[in-house]
Each structure stands twice: as C-alpha cells, then as structure tokens.
Symmetry: none
Subunit: 414 residues, 2 copies
Amino acid sequence: MVVEIICVGTEILMGNIVNTNAAYLAAKCAGLGLSCYYQSVVGDNEGRLYEAVKIAYDRSDVVILSGGLGPTQDDLTKETAAKVLNKELYMHEPSKEAIIRILSRRGLTITENNWKQAMVPEGCIVVENPNGTAPGIIMEENNTHIILLPGPPGELIPMFEDSIVPYLKKLTPDVLYSDMVKLCGVGESMAEDRIKDLIDAQSNPTIATYAKTGEVHMRVTAKAKSEEEAKQIVKPVVDELFNRFGDAIFTTKEEVTLEESIVNLMKEKNLTLGVAESCSGGMLSARLISVSGVSDVYKAGLVTYSNEAKQELIHVSGDTLNRFGAVSEETAREMADGTLKTIGCDYAVAITGIAGPDGGTKEKPVGLVYIACGCKDNIIVKKCQFSGNREKVRQSATATALTMLRGQLLKNIG
Amino acid sequence: MVVEIICVGTEILMGNIVNTNAAYLAAKCAGLGLSCYYQSVVGDNEGRLYEAVKIAYDRSDVVILSGGLGPTQDDLTKETAAKVLNKELYMHEPSKEAIIRILSRRGLTITENNWKQAMVPEGCIVVENPNGTAPGIIMEENNTHIILLPGPPGELIPMFEDSIVPYLKKLTPDVLYSDMVKLCGVGESMAEDRIKDLIDAQSNPTIATYAKTGEVHMRVTAKAKSEEEAKQIVKPVVDELFNRFGDAIFTTKEEVTLEESIVNLMKEKNLTLGVAESCSGGMLSARLISVSGVSDVYKAGLVTYSNEAKQELIHVSGDTLNRFGAVSEETAREMADGTLKTIGCDYAVAITGIAGPDGGTKEKPVGLVYIACGCKDNIIVKKCQFSGNREKVRQSATATALTMLRGQLLKNIG
C-alpha cells in the first residue's frame, strides 16, 4: 500500500519552519507497513494545491495532508481536497459545537470565520480534535483514502495516534508489530557499529535506528498474519539487543520516555527527587514533570541561575564559588548536596554550565557543563563538553543528567 | 523567478531524518527573492526521480536537488538529471584529483566507485566541494537552471553560501525584505479578522500570518529593486499593524522571541524576576533562560510541584492550601507573593494548575490554571481554562504567563 504525504503551508515553503510533520508521519507510516514514495510541500495556493492532491490521488492509495485547516481565507486544504473528489461542504454540527466549547473555554470571541472550520465534505469521516478547533477529515473514494490533519504538531500527533493509526491498521492485511528499544548513554555510531551484523542480516524483522539527544532508538518491526506471530518474530532480536546493550536499554515501548522510566523506577522504591539547575534553567524539571503522576517522586526544583540564588537557596558556599567558579565540579557537588538538604529528598541532580553563546573562556569554553547526581554521601559529578548552540547544550545537559540519574539508581537499588 | 526544491533520499521518506536541507534552502531562496512553490522528496528510485525532475524542469525556473551524489549505486541524482536534459557524463579531471586529495588526507583507500563522483554532465558548471568528495553541478538549458548539491548539511550549506548564492543573485534582479510582526495575547482568527481588509488588498507587500502557542506572527514582505526600496514598501503596512494592535506587538524582528522582548524590557529598567511553577514545572524558567544574557534579570525559580514545596520554599500557608486547594486564585497569589519575598526580586510570576490527564474534578477540570503576576502590593491573578493534552496545557500556561508579565510591565513602567 502506497502512502503519499503532502504538507501544506507557505511557512514551510519559505523555510520559516522545518517540516517535522513530514518526518513524523513518514516514520509512523513506515511503522505501519505503508510504503512512502513521495512527500511534497505546497503553499496555500488553490491551483497548485489542487494539482498536488490530484496527482497524489491518482498514484497513491493513501494521501495524508497536513495543514491548511485553519479558520482563515488562506486555509484551503479541505476545500481543495473536496474539489478533487467533487464533494460539497456542509456544516457539521458536532464540530460547530466543539468550536464553541473550545473558544469559550479559552475566553476567546467567536468570529464569523471560525465556522469555516466546522464545514466538512459530504460523506467524509470527521475526526475529533481535542486539542484544537480544526477537526480531521477522512475521505474515501475509489479505494483511495485522503486524510486531512491539522498542521500544529500538538494537534496532528495526538489525532494521528488516537484516530488515524487505528484507521490505517484496518487497511493493511498484514499486521505489523514493533518494539522500540530505547537506549541512553550510548552514541549513535557506536550503537550502530555494535549491531551492524544484525542490520546486514535483517529482513523480517527489520531494525531501524533513530538518534535523539542523548538517546538512540531502535525500532524492531515484524510483519505477519497476526500480532501474536509478529511478536514472536520480534522477540529474539530484542533479546539479542538486551544481550548487547544490557542496562543501557530503558524501555522497549514506543510511548515510554526516559524521564518516565526514571519516575517509575523511583516510584517503585518510594524514592523522592530534587533538582537544582543553572544553565539548563528548568528544562530538567520540565521533562520530569511531563510525566503524569510524577508528584509521588518529584519534590521540588530550584532554578539557581545566579550565584546569589546558588548561595541563598541551596547554600553553595561563597568560598567555593570564588575559588572554583559557578561552573566547576565543586559547585555542582555543593548544589546537589544543598538540594538534598534543602528539599529533604532522597536523590538530587544538579546542573551548572556555560550554555553560550557568551561567557566562554579558554579554560571554561562554551558547552562545558558539570552534572552532579546522587544521594546522601554518594554524589558523583561528571564533566561534560557539549557542542552546538545554547538550546542544544542545555538539551544535552538535561539528557545526560537523566542518564546519570538512571545509572545511579540502577547501581544503588539494582 | 520560481524555484523548486527536490530532496533525494530514502532516509527522509522513511522519516529517519528531518528534512532540514529543505528548510535551509527554502529560507535562503526566499531571501534571494525566488518564489518557492513546491518542495518534494523522492527516494533513490530512478523512475520516480526522473519523473520528479522532469516535472520540476518543466514548471520552474530553478530546480535545486540535494542528495544522491554519493559513490554508491543507490546514488542516482546526477545520472537522472543528466538524462532529463539528454546529457552524457564525462570524467572531470579536476574533480578526480580533488577526490584523490581528500581521501588520501583522510587516510582512506580509494575504491573504484569513488570515480563515479568525478563524472559530470557535458556542458555543466562544476562547483568545488571543499568539504567532501561530491562536487556540485549546475546545468543550464532552456532558461532553466538545475542545481545539484550534496546531501550532508556540512557540505551543502557552505557550497550554497559560497557558490550558489552568488550564482542565483545574478539571476534575480529583485530584492526581498520582510518584517515579522509578532503579537501576543490575541487569538489567530481575531487577529486575521482585524486585518482582513489589508490581506484582501495585499499585493506588494504581502502579509502572511502564522499561529504559535499564545502568539500570532505576521510576515510583511516586499519585493523591490533594492533593500532600501523594499523597506519603504513594508513600513506603512507595519505602521498600520501597530495602529491596529498597539501594545500586543512585541517585536518586528524574526529572531526576537517573546521571552527575549520581556528580558530586554526588564533589563532596560533594571528590574529582576523570580518564578514559581507548579504544573508548568520549569517550562517558564526554561523559556526565560533560553535568552542569552538573562542573568541580569532572572534571579531564581522554584518548581514547587508538591504542596509541601509550596509551603516550605515560598511560604504558601497550609490554611490557604486546605481551604482553597493548590489550584486556586488564593494559592497562585500567595505563590507570587512568597516568590517576591523569598527571592527578593522586583517581579514574580506563579503558575498553578491541573495539567492532566488525571487530577481533574467537576469543579476543577483538567486545563484549569491560575497565573499570578506582578510586583509588591500589585499582583494580579488570571483564571484560565486551557484545552489539549498535558504538554499543551503546560505550554499554554507558560505562554499566557509571559503575556501577562509583559502586560504588567508595560502598564507599570510604560
């Protein structure tokens, strides 16, 4: 089954945003066993959009469009796709009510153009959008499936996961099953090197690797007549990955994040956590708190960006700051220690570094970060040198801190 | 002049990598005054690649291809583009010498397939690649320009900057200039509604709007013979946007973020800031600290996710928590007040809410967030009801907090 992805938006054509939707949709479709031969991007122009949808409709089994479902006159995707299939639009009352509900809840005034989002092509399947005012649309004609999704990733991704994946699964006779083996603390090329023989020998299951800041994900996918059978094909390969990478694997589940695996580990053992952040400035706390139910584990966090805050809130000594500087092993250790004492938690993580672009010196260049992590009388500190811009350094520091915390937990509590 | 971008590579089609080359090339071309109507991605398949290049050659003035110039049999871009123009390939001696030079410098053995990279279409312009073994290629035929670039960004970007930009500049007489007018605190459809007449009347400059969580961005772009002239065309429209949206506009510069505009505002007035976060869990601090040089303004942040932390770190009274709950106007106000006192800052922002998916009740549903913001004796609290998943609620709360803080600053300090 051939799928084609069309992303609609002048902001992509102008290079204002990177087309992450296409990568997301492509990876998802590949995981579902759909073959993607074409991706394209067109602007909010009716003629060119019509042409693109028409070509895709003629050559592919599934056409996924993202973007252009907004309330403005620029937004033409739905109208144009309907035109390709010769369908009229009508007012879909449940969508209208949903728009009223969402906009009033947000305290926004409803304007005339909002109703445009509740107009849908006749005969289509309307897909609810709990995260926005544009419903998704599925049109079926001549065994071709045209799927329209809202452009913002915060709306597109949940809609795809919740509604489109089950729909696409029904279209494909074979069942695909994947385990997502996620590693932390191992570099991508080293990971690939260690499984080169498995990759060279792959046919069913296949192994695909993806790199993420501080993590490597390996998707092991099998195709079979039943999910049970597919799982049986996946299992020995996943077992082999555990043989090779052991504790570096933190989950085999797509939806589980590194922070979630840590929160679960700590929850099991009734352990609590406190965080002190300088250059990462809240990113580590924000990742941990993205886990629903983290309140059993996460006690508090302190963003001690200034030296003053380091001294006042977590009692880093002025002497240490003067002698070794805010970015030093000693300061990181005192930050973690002070966090344990101030917050009264079992484990603490502290990050201090130079995120740049300014503030670097020859001795302490941009990207230098110290991360301290541990429990009472057992704090380790790691010196890291990250590359990339300010955001990238902060993200790398956050990812490394999580990996360290997990390592400490595994060492101490087995 | 119309440009079209074709990225070649199965790894993009499979979603293994995000297509950053397309975004880079698109932004660069837009800046050069080229209109990009199409971007597409095709795999390493001769038939489909031929089709894509043929279509692009027929409808665009400039076709830029990236990827597929490697030494393996999979790499078909050059051969296929040459076929579309009916050109033979020949061995380009300077490229052959460059390959020998580069590979011996890297200590690599030269294999037979390396020579494939030195084969170029007859009559083309060969573009040197100081960062790799694949030279760039420019073919000109019937006033259409086909440009082939290597796929790795570390080779593509320097080649584009050094050789392709000067080439394209000669082709385009016009210059483009944009201002990016960014608003906060105004919904997308309301914003569009208020400039409907301007959008309807647009030709030069054009106005394009983009929504981001809590913000609306309006790009005003003019085309002219010189940058000075283009700026003159943009100015009256931007002035008119200021007439209509006033203080809701926080910048006219592409690269300036809301958090940066706030940090600059506070820096100017020597004001300091402290933050207390519950459900947003560090996101607000992380956004503020993304601004380089924030240390003059940002004093400290507290992630008081638990009630205990709210009481111990920022002295929210147990009585308030018991009577009104952690998610209440009273708690938000005491969090901000306690932050002012504990941190000793001029302004404080506090966020407390129910991000979900659990924890909601009929009285206090998921998405309910209270945001408190202000300075001593002047704290305002806003009750918000956000929709979407946990991440979306937290992002919306963070964006709204920034908008509130900016509003308070403008009111108090002008």
